[in-house]
């Protein structure tokens, strides 16, 4: 009897819904592209769980990570990005913190399935660890992001911001001489 019911369930499942046409990677490709046809673009911002835009020269904080235990390797500026017109599946992103001279002081390369949020694909809560947070403390730095989707579409953006101090903890003493 159970098998009969199962078979009837199979019949019920054989509906006339739209077929999926997975691509070579198993994705039903265009079905899930929220903003297909829009020119590719990316905007650098900040934010832990959502995208917060940045203006040129804006002040940003340096945060101590959960395992931050010294000026080397345990501090970061929160990076985020708002993206349009790319394939959201398994996109490669590189977030960087640079000195105005172009010297890289933090980098975080990630592959992500981009989440659609408030009218754009958003990546938030990225924490490129500063190699030495005193290099960024109370200084101008450049926050930069680059994206390459799995079809080779690229975009990039950067913003000059002013970083705060490198503190032992919130409200604590500075770690920098």
């Amino acid at each position: 009897m159970k098998r009969l019911c199962l078979s009837l369930l199979v019949i019920a499942a054989c509906g006339d819904g739209p077929p999926a046409f997975p691509d070579a990677n198993g994705f039903p490709d265009a079905l899930f592209l929220e903003d297909a046809g829009i020119p590719p673009s990316i905007e650098i911002g900040t934010g832990v769980v959502s995208f917060i835009p940045l203006t040129e020269g804006q002040a940003v904080e340096i945060f101590r990570g959960p395992q931050g235990g010294g000026r080397t390797g345990g501090y970061h500026i929160w990076h985020a990005a708002r993206i349009h017109g790319v394939d959201p599946h398994a996109a490669d992103l590189i977030f960087k913190t640079l000195l105005p001279t172009g010297e890289e002081i933090a980098s975080n390369a990630r592959t992500e399935n981009l989440q659609y949020m408030d009218g754009a694909y958003v990546v938030a809560g990225v924490a490129p660890a500063l190699s030495d947070c005193c290099h960024a403390a109370n200084a101008d730095v450049v926050m930069r992001v680059e994206i390459r989707d799995r079809n080779g579409v690229t975009a990039q953006d950067q913003r000059l911001v002013h970083a705060g101090d490198c503190l032992l903890g919130a409200g604590g003493p500075s770690l920098c001489p």
């Binding site: 098998r3 198993g26 899930f32 235990g69 399935n113 924490a127």
Partner: protein, 358 residues
């Protein structure tokens, strides 16, 4: 056309079963090991999965809502125990985030975490005893040879690396060598015997307990080393380095850098002198075999797509443990957030339960 064929096949199947007597069910096929995402997007980050066996597994994690360097938390930490069949949430109270777990004796499980937290868990009675190391900062690691000889590591209020030793009744500070630069957290201890214990730390620091004193054994890199592991004192491994990514091997005389550019590892488990697993940022899994490190596919790669993408794990892993049957346990989440959130537990082995009894 496909729909019609499908219906016909189903009808044929249905008719073939009408009038048949109930035959005994086929025995279940042997379950092949596979990668599976046991938990994902838990409210708390998961920091360590480890057990005394594949049927006695502990998973520890953060306390949701905990403030920076806080000694109180609004929620209990995420602690789970797996008995080989089902998961059960352990309830230690609102003690703050738990970062590491280790069994120092069969009925003595030690856990450490926020604000100098030390938990003694007694499985036979399912009870916790809470103690505190002499620090208000986080303890990141624990290892012990017996209930009366347990080591904890982390840092102190001055943000200087700190090591503590617990003789079963008192937790005392063990001086870190003066050559260790200030502001260098000590992350994880791992011992191969009571008098052969390694500690990994910030700024490329490792420490070695030789039974008498802690010795400073500096590595050739300036980066934080999140974990160290090995089976004998003259063949150890250490990983860390954040974005730079380093993997170091101890050859009995010195630390040698074995890493390549894109290895950003946080957790480590040595199966044998030449077989090592490491895990890290962005779902990365590495496997060393026959002297060569290779990157493995992320868990979930090639899985069925959904609206938000496939189910590939792109989160960060904080720890790895390989059980006695070769089962591989990975714990992680969004680890840069304080406290860590979005817990993920991935497992390689026969299919296991994903339900949690509260």
């Amino acid at each position: 056309m496909a729909t019609r064929a499908c219906r016909s096949l189903a009808l044929l199947l249905a008719l073939s079963f009408v009038g048949c007597s109930e035959e005994p069910p086929d025995p279940p096929p042997a379950a092949d090991p596979e990668w599976q995402i046991v938990f994902r997007d838990l409210p708390a980050g998961l920091l360590r999965a480890w057990g005394t066996s594949s049927t006695d597994v502990y998973v520890v994690g953060s306390a949701v809502g905990e403030g920076e360097m806080a000694c109180t938390a609004p929620e209990e930490p995420y602690l789970l125990r797996f008995d080989g069949t089902k998961w059960r949430r352990l309830k230690p109270g609102k003690v703050g985030s738990v970062w590491w777990v280790f069994a120092v004796a069969p009925d003595d499980i030690r856990m450490v975490g926020a604000c100098g937290l030390v938990l003694y868990y007694k499985p036979s009675t399912d009870t916790f005893t809470r103690k505190k190391a002499p620090t208000n900062s986080t303890l990141f690691g624990v290892w012990g040879a017996s209930s009366n000889d347990v080591w904890y590591s982390g840092n102190n209020e001055a943000n200087t690396g700190a090591v503590f030793r617990d003789n079963g009744s008192e937790i005392s500070v063990v001086p870190v060598p003066a050559t260790v630069t200030a502001s260098t957290v000590i992350f994880k201890p791992h011992g191969v015997s009571a008098n052969e214990i390694w500690f990994s730390g910030g700024a490329g620091v490792t420490l070695y307990w030789n039974g008498t004193e802690l010795q400073h054994r500096q590595t050739p890199v300036p980066f934080g080393l999140n974990a160290t592991h090995g089976l004998r004192k003259d063949r150890m491994y250490a990983v860390g380095g954040g974005a730079q990514g380093v993997l170091l091997g101890w050859n009995g005389m010195e630390w040698i850098e074995e890493s390549e550019a894109d290895k950003k590892m946080i957790g480590l488990w040595v199966v044998s002198d030449d077989e090592v697993y490491a895990v890290g940022e962005n779902g990365a899994i590495y496997h060393r075999k026959d002297g060569t490190w290779a990157k493995e596919d992320r868990v979930g790669t090639g899985s069925k797509a959904t609206k938000s993408g496939d189910s590939t794990v792109f989160d960060d892993y904080h720890s790895i443990w390989v059980d006695e049957k070769g089962g591989i346990w990975l714990a992680g989440g969004a680890l840069s957030v304080m406290p860590p959130v979005k817990g993920v537990l991935a497992y390689y082995g026969p299919p296991i339960s994903k339900d949690i009894e509260e």
